[in-house]
Amino acid sequence: MYRIRFHGRGGQGMKTAGRILGSTFFLAGFEVQDAPRYGAERRGAPIFAYVRASKTPIFERGIITRPDLIIVADDHLPAIPGAGVLVGAGEQTVFLIHSNEKAALWKERLNLQGQVFTLPVLTDSELRFRGAACAGGAAALLEELNIDLLVEAVQEELAPLGSVLVEANCTIARAAYNALVEHRGAAHEGGPVSATEYTPPNWLTLPCDAPLLSAPAIHAPATSELTQTGLWRSEHPLIDTSRCNRCWWICSTFCPEGAIQVDAARRPHIDYAHCKGCMVCLAQCPTHAITAIPEEEAAAQGESP
């Protein structure tokens, strides 16, 4: 059985990617299971989708813990622990990431044992087709799939968007497929789980804890600040202090997150650990003192948390 996981952020089309690949497998005569998975987090937060495909009926269900292929739509995700990009990755796992950096670099950086491939980061105008690109790249690495089935699946899955958008998605999916087709067959079906050689679960007898502990109540203030929502950001706002005229009541009040603090000298500061990159501050700054640079550029300059 193939066990494949797509990682991205809310709004990046990972559900679509999973569905396109699922349909491609289905058209190729496979039994298929595909599903997205997301929690409370919203647009911008890490999510994943997964696809199982097999020539025999699939009884497994739920999250894939031993993936044969991982596709990453956004090269900031591997650094986010909560994204779980590397969960279960082993020797058999092929890793495909949208990145302008070299595959070898990712292999080393993430200490990956399996093969690593990259697809170039999409241009701004192509970003909305990211799901199709991920599906196309994944399909290219699988022996049993081909470009015709892929295109048919894109057309089927995205039909409600209208022919113009369907064609644009097909173009992106084809390009991703063609960029990787020389590695066709790189990803292999993983085997079943052994019923004899396995690590037994350490079941216990749950103690009866006092209600102070065992009720789902929080007895501490503002614990949400432990969550680094700054990791949702793909664009990095910067305040040019020379142009800031300290009308903090605009940017600081309008920031929906409350992530712009004002210091004693009445200067605003962005809390990058929590700024989600909505860019309301940039849009509202009367002196245009706030600009945005791509997050990777900011990271390179040591600007990120």
């Binding site: 929690g39 409370a40 749950l206 103690p207 009866c208 804890d209 006092a210 209600p211 102070l212 065992s214 009720a215 789902p216 109540a217 929080i218 007895h219 501490a220 203030p221 503002a222």
Partner: protein, 415 residues
């Protein structure tokens, strides 16, 4: 000594009064209304210091009850039947908050068809929500168990709401002599509620009822509430003993009536169990070795006590005053799972459904139940489930059906 004739509703009201409840969100519904009217009168006449608020629904009533309990006050509320079902969502929710309060349910059959007469389908529909359930057989037991219920709910290991159940009409509107303990005596048994960590206060942080979006943590919280509920068995035994020492009326999780040397045992809950006891006495006089076992707690379910009480019996008749459509009696199912695979489990476990919508169960029917189980014991074949319903009843019903049909055919011809 203050012994008075009280209805079951009156006994519930006295229980609340003696428990010195702080807060009563209310909503009227038959046959419960008398409880809140009685307490309302006491409040109006300064006999009780309590805030009573009539809400716009039972759903809101339970919400206000639970929310007030989070501030750390002692809360009481009461409902019945449709009202209990309307509040279902909040019974689960409030139990999940792990706050103590006492809810009286006056059992009444559920719509459709709508009825005013009692059976246990309302309260048993709340079996799984996390409220502990105490089922009363007499008006005295209602008052006494109200007091025990607060101790249970507020117990530091439990901290769960408790539902005290009494049967509509057979208890709610039926007067019996009830010993009303003095306030001073009750204060010794039930001191003021100390909320501890449950409190909304300025200058403190408490987020209550928060979401848990992950199966593992959710499992923990739910199972902890289950474990807390299970503590209720031992705690009830302790409290029942303590109550007995103070008031002379001792309570245990099971009432075992002449069951020790019995070969055949009736198992039932609620006020109809006293009818069962009457039948046991008559059967005993006739030489039958028969007894009755009545769980006072349905949640937590006294599994171990039941196993002990029923071990070695030849036959058990479960008389269910409820019906799980598509399955049968609920108590039968509960008991089967408790006894399965246990050494000495009674070989014959027979189910009888009776008393639906307040239908009487006669002495003769108890005698016949005994005979059916006896036959099962002799042949080794477990009798099929039996609805207590007679030929006379069906004939009377057929008459009603003919009227119901005739109304249509007569339309053209006038009255």
């Amino acid at each position: 000594m203050n012994r008075k004739l009280l209805t079951g509703n009156g006994a519930a009201a006295w229980g609340a009064r003696l428990a010195r409840i702080d807060y009563l969100p209310a909503f009227p519904i038959t046959p419960q209304t008398e409880i809140i009217e009685t307490i309302g009168n006491w409040i109006d006449n300064d006999a009780l210091e309590c805030r009573m608020v009539t809400m716009e629904s039972e759903h809101s009533m339970l919400t206000a009850a639970g929310a007030a309990a989070v501030t750390g006050v002692r809360v009481f509320t009461a409902t019945s039947s449709q009202g209990l079902l309307y509040a279902t969502e909040m019974l689960y929710t409030v139990a999940g908050w792990r706050v103590p309060l006492v809810l009286v349910n006056v059992s009444r059959g559920i719509s459709s068809p709508i009825t005013l007469e009692p059976d246990h389908n309302d309260v048993l529909a709340m079996r799984d929500c996390g409220f502990l359930q105490l089922h009363c057989a007499t008006c005295q037991e209602v008052l006494d168990n109200m007091l025990i219920a607060y101790r249970l709910a507020e117990h530091p290991l439990i901290r769960l709401p408790v539902l005290v159940n009494l049967d509509g009409f057979y208890l709610s509107f039926t007067r019996e002599p009830v010993q009303i303990p003095s306030q001073a005596e009750v204060d010794r048994f039930l001191p003021p509620f100390s909320a501890g960590s449950i409190r909304f206060r300025g200058g403190e942080s408490l987020s209550e009822g928060v979401a848990v979006l992950e199966g593992s943590a959710y499992s923990y919280f739910r199972y902890e509430a289950h474990l807390a509920s299970l503590q209720g068995l031992a705690v009830y035994e302790e409290l029942g003993l303590e109550f007995g020492e103070l008031f002379g009326r001792q309570y245990t999780t099971l009432e075992c009536y002449r069951s020790e040397d019995a070969e055949i045992v009736f198992v039932m809950i609620g006020s109809f169990a006293t009818k069962g006891k009457e039948a046991v006495d008559r059967l005993r006089e006739a030489g039958a070795k028969v007894g009755l076992v009545r769980p006072r707690l349905l949640r937590p379910f006294p599994v171990s006590a039941l196993r002990t009480a029923l071990a070695g019996k030849k036959g058990v008749a479960v008389i269910d005053q409820n019906l799980s459509l598509g399955k049968g009696g609920i108590l039968l199912t509960e008991l089967s799972s408790a006894l399965y695979g246990i050494p000495g489990a009674p070989p014959i476990l027979a189910g009888f459904v009776g008393g639906l919508g307040g239908r009487n169960i006669s002495n003769e029917e108890f005698f016949e139940i005994h005979k059916v189980v006896q036959r099962g014991v002799a042949t080794g074949v477990c009798p099929a489930p039996q609805l207590l319903y007679t030929d006379e009843e069906l004939r009377a019903l057929r008459k009603m059906q003919s009227v119901a049909r005739a109304a249509k055919t007569n339309r053209g011809g006038g009255a």
